[in-house]
């Protein structure tokens, strides 16, 4: 029986993930550290990727390969949750407490595809203003990139969060990280916070 949380959220936010680039390979970035993810409060398997395999997501076509979608900061996940509320017409104050999302903290170290810098986006033939101008549920271009990255054996994709307003400041404050769990080092579940323990704002 797990007892959450194990630590204060500030313990994790004080140590953001690091992104290290190698000038000789602009399509890759070495990622080390803490990532975050929103999950259903009722979830007993917070690292389960079966839904992403079935439904697909930003970087994987439905039925192609499983992906664990995460954010590199709590703000990234919060912006996803806020976007979700607006996009689906579900303000959080209208949801039952048991339906509000938990936040999980995972530790992950691997080399992933670089879709955060202009060089990386060019490498993957995505526009340097990506994701600006891409409709929120239009994933044709990114899924093609995701498939190529998967076939190249990389552990996932780091990208600019589509729900953040801008991508300035440290990468860890605005990046999404999609972990290709079938071929990535296993992310470790570090902690879990109930909605009222991590989220502020509506």
């Amino acid at each position: 029986m797990n007892s959450w949380p194990r630590s204060d959220l500030a313990t994790y936010t004080a140590r953001p993930a690091t992104f290290e680039f190698d000038q000789t390979s602009p399509g890759a970035v070495a990622l080390t550290g803490i990532l975050y993810r929103a999950i259903p409060h009722s979830s007993q398997e917070p690292l389960n990727t079966s839904q992403s395999l079935i439904a697909g997501g930003r970087w994987n076509r439905p039925g192609s390969f499983p992906v664990l979608y995460t954010g590199a900061s709590v703000d990234v996940v919060r912006s996803f949750v806020e976007w979700h509320a607006v996009y689906f017409g579900l303000p959080l104050r209208t949801r039952p407490t048991d339906d509000l999302p938990d936040l999980i903290v995972v530790s992950f170290n691997a080399t992933v595809a670089n879709a955060v810098t202009d060089e990386g986006l060019v490498h993957y033939r995505l526009p340097t203003n990506y994701p600006t101008g891409f409709p929120p549920q239009e994933h044709t271009a990114t899924r093609a990139v995701g498939q190529a990255v998967f076939e190249a054996g990389l552990a996932g994709v780091a990208a600019r969060s589509a729900t953040m307003a801008n991508w300035t400041g440290p990468i860890a404050s605005w990046a999404d990280v999609a972990i290709f769990t079938g071929q990535a080092p296993e992310p470790a579940l570090v902690d879990r916070f109930r909605y009222d323990e991590w989220y502020s704002g509506d």
């Binding site: 999950i39 930003r58 979608y69 996940v77 017409g89």
Partner: protein, 276 residues
Amino acid sequence: MASQATAQLEIVLGGSATRVKRWSKSEHLVTSGGASRFASLLTPPAAGGLVRSVDPLVHRFAELAQAAAGRYYPVVAPLFHLEIAPVVASPWFGSSGSYTNDLTLGLTARFRNWIEEIDAAVDIELAVPISPLEPVQRLEWHPISNEAVTYVAAAALDRAASERKDADYQYELERIQSILGLKLSEMTRLLHVSHEGLRKWTRGSSIADERLPDIDDLYDLSLWISAHIKPEHVPAFIRRRIPALANQRPIDWLMSGRSQELRAVYQKAFSYEQLA
């Protein structure tokens, strides 16, 4: 109302056969012809006609049982439908020369026995004494075949189930309207039925079988939505223009028969599965 019930209970529990027959006739509780047609044809459709012919009587018994014993004992109206076949199989049926009267008196006798048994078991403080009611003895009486009695039992069971079903759908319609906060005109558009048709449904009239799946789907969807959105916010939610629905409203999707698509969109939304 209570005194009316007492007066009727006096007849039904203690009145002579003649008084019971007169009461039943004056209250139009049994349609003549149904029982005699069955006795001559002994077919499943005729059994259905017999069961329908005593429907008002069966329901009156249910009301009177409620008046007599409701405080002490839960009374379920469809139970009385199931008493019809035993009466048809008993010496009551064919005892007097009028199958309509036989059925009326046979059911009345069953009602008396039933109330007496309850009174003996839980003392329902009956204000009216119960008198026994016996069929006239006839030497030439021939029982109805087992097969034909089975037809009556099946028809009665169908009738009871159908009434239960109607009551269930009445409840479903009320819940749909209340959960989604729908006006009558919105309900009619959602269910593709006229105002008059909907009014009849909500008063318990039978709903055609082909309409039931739509009502079931809408009921399920309403319950599902209300499990994921606080009840007081559901009416506003279904009228909100929503980006995920191409800036249409959930109620628009429901009215255009897209309830399954709506469910698919919100299955993902309610799960909070992060896919980007």
